[in-house]
Symmetry: C2
Subunit: 327 residues, 2 copies
């Protein structure tokens, strides 16, 4: 099933079930009002939502209405955890090579992950507010999952069973703040403003055969100011699958239902597939020509991120955002 | 007023108002069931809780019962944000000096802060579960505040007005995992397991004159295995006050109601005041003798952290935890 949260003036939005083809929606009234509520009590509530989802997909839901992604908050407008990995090692290697940094010895066995702010997420068409263009405004197209409860010490092969939902992410980044923040060792903090999410969160079964080995084997379409810059495959080059990322997080503590786990920027070794974040393109340019050529986003720029299934249909709906121009 | 959350089998606990002297409590029934709910709608709900608090303090609340800290979860058993600073520069300087690390140039103008996991907090008497003694189990006695909504770009002098509640923290740390994690630049992650909180959260007015300049001017009592190891003053040596920490967090994004902001380990330059975390004592030993003498916590060890007001009464109740011995 596909779930979204509609803007209703509240902090958590109003839960709606969305049809597989993203054309119609139905309030989850009588079952649950908020998505977190469903995650808190998944085994009881999700079968009821599944039933509504089936009715909706068959055109039999009584109060269906046309689905409008512009009405969506993030599926979870706020969450109790947002931890993001760098699971595509091609990206890590390019960025480090460009700045002549050493590759960490255990890069291939120990996932890079940071804890992000999760109190104020953006919806798929919300404006990106940044204090200054000089901060190096960048997008990052990613896949994320939402977990149920995970006990400390759960191994990767069992951790993958905790995945409840899959989402699309724009992990907005302020690149010129990153070096200073990482040098302090304490994580990205100011260099990661509010993260944006695609309109709908989907259960893994909606991905069919594309959900395999803890990865989403589908292409991510990325367009910047209306021009395609990336058509990157989220599947085979994800060096750590979601079960491994969740197990990494749960090594020294429990995770509670509703934890969001990100893949990091999707990245492919084949440069002809383009890029899912500007920093990666700049890294390629630096490696080839000694300096970057592509500039970061400007106020008013737009980014569109979408994943299409084997049938050509949009899986999560599109993230379609503009960087706000200050008043 | 003083607020706590009682264990009731739910994920958020049951909101109770606690008397100033911590002897009696009263369910906040009819006003709010969860603390986050109050933070979400502070201006409407907090005056009603204040009224109940006044009745309780005057012995006039009709269904008051004896307050039991062992019944408490963390005031917020889960939160949308937990960001922790290192605002006591004496601690930062000692730890870095001990490992012959350079002091960052902008240490005195740019606060060190990391984003922590906020999905699974411990109550004041909950066991601390750690996979292995060899991870270097440590406590950290800290003060934290809970904020209301804060708009991006709010300056420190106005950010301080967003403080709704003050709390006591044990920021449990796994010291032997810290160097590896910080070397990756992405923050503490695995080296910070679940954080524990004192029984009650208090509004700043409960601190009277001790709440001044965005700091809590009171001593923090720290005992390890029943022996006092620290009586450190949380006030004058907090180099960045809470308004400055909140403003630092809000530089590139909004903070939403219920964000928890920590001070970092309380630390005093005067060594005779003892320590609020073992790492600091080991740093002093290393500076003096070339190596640390004090070992970290073992399974079964206990830590007790408490703040007493000018009247000698416990302000937040005590954090009183043991490290669990694995089955």
């Amino acid at each position: 099933m596909k779930l979204a949260s509609y803007k209703d003036g509240s902090r958590d939005g109003q839960l709606v079930v969305v049809s597989r083809d993203l054309t119609t929606a139905h309030y989850a009234n009588g079952i649950a009002t908020r998505l977190q509520q469903v995650l808190d009590d998944w085994n009881f509530l999700s079968p009821q939502l599944e039933e509504l989802s089936i009715s909706l997909n068959h055109g039999r839901a009584r109060h269906a209405f046309p689905f409008d992604p512009a009405m969506c908050t993030a599926p979870l407008p706020r969450a109790y955890q947002w931890a993001d990995g760098s699971a595509y090692l091609n990206h890590v290697e390019l960025v480090r090579k460009a700045r002549n940094a050493e590759m960490p010895e255990n890069l291939k066995t120990d996932p890079l992950m940071y804890q992000g702010g999760s109190d104020d997420f953006l919806g798929p068409t919300d404006l990106i507010h940044v204090p200054s263009e000089r901060m190096g405004i960048d997008f990052e197209a990613e896949i994320a999952v939402v977990t149920g409860d995970v006990t400390m010490g759960t191994p990767a092969d069992r951790a993958i069973d905790a995945v409840r939902l899959v989402m699309l992410v724009n992990d907005v980044s302020l690149r010129h703040l990153v070096p200073g923040e990482l040098a302090k060792g304490f994580g990205f903090f100011q260099s990661k403003p509010s993260t944006a999410f695609g309109p709908v969160a989907v259960t893994p079964d909606e991905l069919g055969a594309a959900w395999q080995g803890g990865r989403v084997h589908l292409p991510v379409h990325v367009a910047w100011n209306g021009k395609r810059v990336g058509l990157v495959d989220a599947g085979p080059e994800m060096s750590f699958h979601f079960g491994e990322l969740i197990a990494h997080m749960a090594k020294t503590r429990n995770l509670r239902a509703g934890s969001i786990v990100g893949s990091g920027t999707v990245s492919n070794a084949d440069a002809s597939r383009g890029y899912a974040c500007i920093a990666e393109q700049r890294a390629r340019e630096t490696i080839a020509h000694g300096e970057p050529k592509t500039e970061f986003m400007r106020f008013g720029d737009t980014v569109r991120i979408e994943v299409k299934g084997a049938d050509g249909q949009s899986v999560f709906g599109a993230i379609d955002q503009a960087v706000a121009t200050p008043d």
